[in-house]
């Protein structure tokens, strides 16, 4: 039987040291069978702890231990079937200034178009993608394979037996999606986009 506070501490520590998203079940498995329900609640508590916005709104009774009030630079994001601790996107300018980093490589529009086609219609072959975009995707597919956004998922049983491509877990992480179901629906894009933006902020 583990104390609730101890549970939360353990969960926070694990999230802190893990660089990959950790599935909630794996976090819960650290604790005894009997504690699993409590563990789930503890995970939620840690997620909410980091979700507290800067400016100390709401968390009124909290001033005492110095935990609330101050702005948060990190948050727990739900992505690719797990949770992970990362910096809030708004911190980017500060981090770049501190670590003296310039520009990270962004996917080209051609790459994102091809990626979108694969994401929504997977598995897809290169000829099928070419059909949709009217542009040969071969160079772009190579980039996407190298960036680990897509993977080869077998061959299609048609003439030429072309490779089939699917998106990867890295794709989900890159775009902050919990799963493929989380992709913005093709028809309600504007709505979904607002949601995705809100989730990050």
């Amino acid at each position: 039987m583990t104390e609730r506070a101890e549970m939360e501490a353990a969960i926070e520590a694990v999230l802190f040291v893990s660089s990959e998203p950790v599935p909630r079940e794996r976090l819960a498995e650290m604790f005894d069978e009997a504690d699993r329900a409590e563990a789930a609640a503890a995970i939620d508590a840690v997620v909410r702890r980091y979700a507290a916005e800067g400016g100390g709104d709401g968390e009124g009774g909290e001033g005492g231990d110095g935990a609330g009030g101050g702005g948060r630079g990190v948050f727990v994001e739900e992505v690719a079937g797990g949770v992970r601790l990362v910096t809030r996107p708004e911190m980017n300018p500060w981090l770049r200034r501190f670590f003296e980093v310039t520009g990270s490589q962004k996917l080209s529009m051609a790459a994102i178009e091809t990626l979108a086609i694969i994401a929504y219609r997977q598995p897809m072959t290169a000829p099928e993608i070419q059909e949709l975009r009217s542009v040969s995707p071969s160079g772009v597919i190579k980039t996407l394979l190298e960036r680990r956004m897509i993977r080869i998922a077998g061959r299609k049983e048609v003439v030429g037996r072309p490779f089939l491509y699917c998106t990867t877990r890295e794709f989900l992480v890159h775009f902050g999606l919990k799963s493929l179901k989380d992709l913005p629906p093709l028809d309600e894009l504007d709505e979904a986009l607002e949601e995705a933006g809100g989730e990050i902020g």
């Binding site: 911190m91 994102i112 975009r133 009217s134 542009v135 890159h174 775009f175 913005p184």
Partner: protein
């Protein structure tokens, strides 16, 4: 049929100053639909076709390296334009007549949907580019697996990784074991080269050795051919002569090759 020479005057004012670059012919078509303020479902084919060609002409003038797909699409458009001029045959009594634009419309609508999806992904990406992960991996002294460069989660391992790994191994192996030419003899035997050279020489034309060696497909074949020349010279079947210009010329001697001499050559 006569296609009018497209002029840049057909293009929107802004494009004449700063020609935009598109993701492909469908992207260009979508933009033309937009600047002309027409519906995708009711495209004025002649106008759009002329503007498409005007864009291509201007792009060529500006040395923009457009992919062949643009040319293909341009041809499709001309074909469509001509079909628009033909009388249409009704599909069946009572049904609406066929619209030759149907296929183009379907492609454009589909592409527009995916383009919108791509744009929303791009926006998500630019929001998320500001997210940083913690530096350094999990602590190994606590039983966390050691992190090393290049390691991949088994769940994420793909055929592409496997191929890359195999290529890496082979490149390193080749570097550590420079190919000795005897390995290549399987493909390019000295004997074959002797026969080839004799056949060439028997045509009676002056034979430029350097040019011939240059025409070989790979280093292994060059080596085999060169060894063949040495063998032929040793057997007095050819004479090697260097001209004043520096060319190396082979001449066939009058001696006839004995079958067993050639058979004895390295296979």
């Amino acid at each position: 049929m006569n296609t009018p020479v497209p002029t840049r005057g057909l293009l929107p004012e802004a494009w004449r100053v700063d020609l935009p670059v598109f993701e492909g012919p469908l992207d260009l078509l979508l933009q033309l639909v937009k600047v002309n303020k027409v519906e995708i479902t009711d495209i004025p084919v002649a106008t759009i076709c002329d503007q498409f060609h005007a864009y291509l002409a201007l792009a060529e003038e500006l040395d923009l390296d457009l992919a062949a797909e643009y040319i293909y699409e341009a041809a499709l458009l001309i074909h469509l334009k001509s079909r628009m001029l033909l009388p249409r045959t009704p599909r069946a009594p009572g049904e609406p007549e066929e619209d030759p634009r149907e296929e183009l419309v379907a492609r454009l609508l589909e592409y527009r949907r995916l383009k919108e999806a791509a744009q929303s992904l791009a926006e998500i990406e630019s929001l998320r580019r500001g997210i940083w992960r913690r530096e350094g991996g999990p602590p190994e002294d606590l039983g966390a697996p050691a992190e090393e460069a290049g390691e991949i989660d088994l769940g994420d391992l793909s055929l592409y990784d496997l191929l890359g790994a195999l290529r890496g191994v082979l490149v390193r192996y080749d570097k550590a074991h420079p190919p000795a030419y005897h390995l290549d003899r399987e493909h390019f035997s000295v004997r074959d080269q002797v026969h080839r050279l004799l056949a060439e020489l028997d045509r009676g034309r002056p034979f430029d050795l350097v040019a011939d060696l240059r025409a070989r497909s790979c280093r292994a074949e060059v080596i085999a051919a060169f060894l063949a020349v040495l063998e032929l010279a040793r057997l007095s079947l050819v004479r090697v002569h260097q001209t004043e210009a520096g060319d190396v010329v082979l001449y066939r001697t009058t001696r006839e090759a004995a079958g067993e001499e050639l058979e004895a050559l390295a296979g």
